[in-house]
């Protein structure tokens, strides 16, 4: 049973516009959330994270929003650039249980059109 879900397999956005990638989770014990970016034939690269004590975290063009009541998080990329084209994975962990295992979504392929 998938505890972290990314329901959009793909997303296309014009260069310069905003990209919004969404992620839902089911396990209320999750308290640490991450986004990873993956290019073909490479491993996932850590992008940004957020703890459940926050509802927003920003790093340059990347902002992650967390809505705990809806069990939903999103990644905003502004402005989108062609180099952002990759597969984005949402991941979650329940650090409060003592574990730091990551549970991943199935990924969203972002294409930024020049």
């Amino acid at each position: 049973d998938q505890q972290v879900k990314q329901n959009s397999p793909s997303l296309s956005v014009q260069e310069g516009r905003i990209s919004i990638l969404n992620c839902d989770y089911t396990n209320s014990m999750f308290d640490y959330f991450l986004w990873y970016k993956k290019y073909p034939a490479e491993g996932p690269t850590f992008l940004i994270s957020i703890s459940s004590i926050k509802d927003k975290n920003e790093d340059g063009r990347f902002t992650v929003f967390l809505n705990k009541s809806a069990k939903h998080l999103s990644l905003h990329i502004v402005p989108s650039q062609p180099g952002d084209s990759a597969v984005y994975f949402c991941a979650a962990s329940a650090l409060r249980t003592g574990a730091n295992n990551l549970f991943f979504g199935t990924g969203t392929r972002l294409t930024v059109i020049p």
């Binding site: 991450l34 990873y36 491993g43 991941a91 295992n101 990551l102 549970f103």
Partner: protein, 112 residues
């Protein structure tokens, strides 16, 4: 170069064979992890290790064996490979319990 390296990058083997995937990190991170990536499943945790000589099962451990005699190495062994273990395998490490995991570039394993 510092980082996390996996070997081999590609491997083809036959059912029933034993195969070992290697993972080496130069950061002296305490935690190391093995994931497999399959279509429709994202990445799923196979085994992880919190320190040398400490390992624990993840979500899909059946058919796999790990060891961690040294902090920097975390090999994954398929003792008798099956076709269902055809996958891309990723190793990761993290400095601490609440730190992000950093991934190697993966091993693509095909079992015929």
């Amino acid at each position: 170069d510092a980082g996390i390296t996996q070997s081999p990058r590609y491997k083809i083997t036959e059912t029933g064979r034993q195969v070992t995937l290697m993972c080496h990190q130069t950061w002296s991170h305490s935690y190391m992890f093995w994931y497999r990536q399959d279509l429709g499943h994202g990445l799923r945790l196979i085994y992880y290790s919190a320190a040398a000589d400490i390992t624990d099962k993840g979500e899909v451990p059946d058919g796999y064996v790990v060891s961690r005699s040294k902090t920097e190495n975390f090999p994954l062994t398929l003792e008798s490979a099956t076709r269902s273990q055809t996958s891309v395998y990723f190793c990761a490490s993290s400095e601490g319990h609440s730190q992000p995991q950093h991934f190697g570039d993966g091993t693509r394993l095909s079992i015929l």
